[in-house]
Point group: C2
Chain length 430, copies 2
């Protein structure tokens, strides 16, 4: 007998196969059991009618509990009404382990309960689908860069100094010294771009923010491409192609998961380039007209981002930001030193900033001045200054937060569901 | 004029193109300059003969320094003697930035000097090639699992408890609490396997070991697949196919880099399955015969691993290890409780253990006993025990250390060159 997984059942219509997995759910009457069987690749309904199976099996199925592990055999039948297009006529069922009182029941649980049971909650349909979309997004991200001659250059996690202020850094006892967990691999990517032309890193990053919002995690994944001989416009072009590529891949390969998540694909199908590109000045004007109290020089709040997203109905690039709200390494606009060549990409539907990028300051003197202005310890940045001493070139890049991207794709309200084991203020278990 | 990169020059033979990059090296006579030009995708020789170019350009090239950034144009000519098969007849050269006294010169530098200049050292040919092999290995790893229906399930970095003892853990101040940096994502992958059938994580892991050897980093990347309904033999089969797949990809796509690294491809071409599979008992016998003082019950030292690697000339699986030297979660052999269903894969040529894996203990009672025996805090493992309470199945997996694999592929003596910014005892800069 052929052993297979739910994913490939359609290839075995008319045949009897063996599957290994778990009982996801069960509906029973006195005469028939409908088992929802899952094996990680998908779910399928297995039907056992009292008239068709032997009595011992029928009785065994009656006592079979949710999430018990089972090996089953059955004949594969086409069934247009089922999501996978097939059903199973159950032949045998071998119990591997009986699960007693599985904690996650049908009724609604609060978020704390579910997060405390994250190791089991992952088995629920929507969580299962979310992780699969996350996988697709990760794959799309890597494919996008790999196909375009980027080289993967993993950034270090332990860093000696802060990239953007120290208040939100996690401190580690590093033998007889202190180290900090990285907030961004960007500075290291700049070194990489000078060696490889185009590079990216894609790993976990950390922010010790004492904020409990639906958009914050203390530990999240970020992809950061960096390109030599790129100006701001080229950075924006790349970011636009990148976001469109990810959306296309999710639509092409994860329709089933979007269905489980009740995410309307139409909301993603409209995400095609070109995206609007407006200056920060234009954004301020739009926001003030729409009733925001934001003043020139201020950073956007979540309501401002939502407003901009709603206005365009698609992602929108906001570029040329006030120098004061952006990091020291961003390229000063030679025509207007009050602004830097920075860009944010704001997603629609309230998902906010998903990309932040810039052209980088490639002039040694200007950069040294900025490090002084920001009161940063110059010794710690000597290596970074070397990149301007030895073969400096115009360059730029951006960062995209994986979990925000996944939340947007899935239509997930809270970012905590987009990562297998979320880490938040007061949560490191399980 | 067409702008391109060194990688694609062969497509432009007979045409004039523009390139952007850096001067890698220069040889000059009074009558001719040979520029080694690099742009991250490769290097090409650009030739300027005094007789062919105007005098100002010839003079400019005379003063051009190593690692200065330049834009050049030139005609592409076929040249069978050059590694890339083409050369450039230089037309113009625009200086972007002149590099003064680039620190890494031709003469040999000590490792400390090079590591202090890692941000520049990355540009050197061998380092450039190593990072590209690393990229290929990472890509192969992800492709292998993605093509086999594994789901990526990123493990958390912050963990509340130790997986294998606490002495080598990095401690983090986590708000008002303590957290530890992960040493392995495995326990979390077991939860994932029960949700997705087959999963893997691939991220940085941390060991606070006070050892300075050529095989140790405090921060390194590890890939850890975990499979439901797998026994030890299936784990070994998968690990064997996996290693062969990576080697094949490196040989298929990175011949040029192996050449730069002076790594003989023949050493990798012989790495084909099947690999020998011996029990720990058999390994001990072999080692003792070969003169090792190892006794039954001891873990292998580096010389033991080298001996085994030399004996087989190929990777060798050693399975069924003494319970005492292995972790608490490994499956006790029902026929012999003194050993567990664990496996190590030892690479040849002194590269040592590159894979460690096992079937996991899936029996709740046995596992609870092990947690007690090891004096582990049971509360911290309640979620892990849940995996045995609710739908326990035979399962297993393994971990492969990325940097050791890359070192083996590249023939690199010290693992520190296989990661862009190595972190070691007393080194977190740059």
């Amino acid at each position: 007998m052929k052993q297979t997984t739910v994913k490939y059942l359609k290839e075995y219509v008319g045949e009897t196969v063996q599957l290994q997995g778990w009982l996801y759910n069960k509906r029973s009457s006195g005469k028939i059991h409908f088992l929802q069987f899952r094996d990680g690749t998908g779910t399928v309904q297995a039907v056992a009618a009292k008239a068709d199976v032997d009595e011992a099996l029928f009785e065994q199925l009656r006592s079979l509990t949710q999430e018990s592990s089972i090996r089953i055999t059955g004949e594969v039948r086409e069934d247009d009404r089922s999501p996978g297009g097939v059903e199973l006529t159950l032949g045998t069922c071998e119990l591997v382990q009986q699960a007693v009182d599985y904690p996650i029941a049908k009724q609604a649980h609060g978020p704390d309960f579910l997060l405390n049971h994250r190791h089991l909650w992952l088995r629920s349909q929507k969580q299962w689908a979310t992780i699969r979309v996350r996988h697709e997004v990760v794959r799309a991200i890597r494919d996008f860069f790999d196909e375009r001659d980027f080289v993967l250059l993993d950034a270090p996690i332990f860093t000696p100094a802060a990239c953007e202020g120290t208040s939100t850094l996690f401190e580690v006892n590093y033998f007889d010294d202190k180290a900090y967990l990285t907030q961004s691999g960007q500075l290291y990517q700049e070194a990489g771009a000078m060696a490889h032309g185009k590079v990216y890193c894609f790993g976990p990053t950390f922010r010790a923010e004492r904020s409990k919002t639906r958009k914050h995690l203390t530990e999240f994944w970020m992809v950061e491409p960096e390109m030599a001989y790129y100006d701001l416009d080229m950075v924006i072009d790349l970011a636009e192609a990148f976001v469109c590529f990810i959306v296309e891949r999710v639509l092409a390969n994860r329709r089933q998961e979007l269905g489980i998540l009740e995410r309307d694909p139409a909301a993603l199908e409209k995400i095609t380039g070109p995206f609007a590109r407006i200056t920060y000045d234009e954004a301020i004007e739009l926001l003030q007209k729409a009733g925001s109290e934001i003043q020139w020089g201020g950073d956007f709040g979540a309501p401002d981002e939502t407003m901009l997203g709603d206005h365009f109905g698609k992602p929108v690039f906001v570029h040329h930001w006030p120098t004061e709200v952006k990091a020291f390494y961003m390229k000063q606009d030679p025509d207007n030193p009050k602004v830097v060549k920075a860009v944010d990409l704001i997603a629609p539907d309230g998902y906010g900033e998903i990309i932040g990028g810039s052209q980088r300051e490639d002039d040694l003197d200007v950069l040294e001045g900025k490090i002084e202005e920001h009161n940063l310890p110059k010794e710690a940045f000597e290596w970074y200054l070397d990149l301007r001493r030895y073969g400096s070139v115009p360059h730029g890049g951006f960062g995209l937060g994986l979990e925000r991207m996944v939340a947007w794709m899935c239509g997930t309200e809270h970012i905590r569901e987009t990562i297998p084991f979320p880490r938040m203020l007061y949560r490191i278990y399980p």
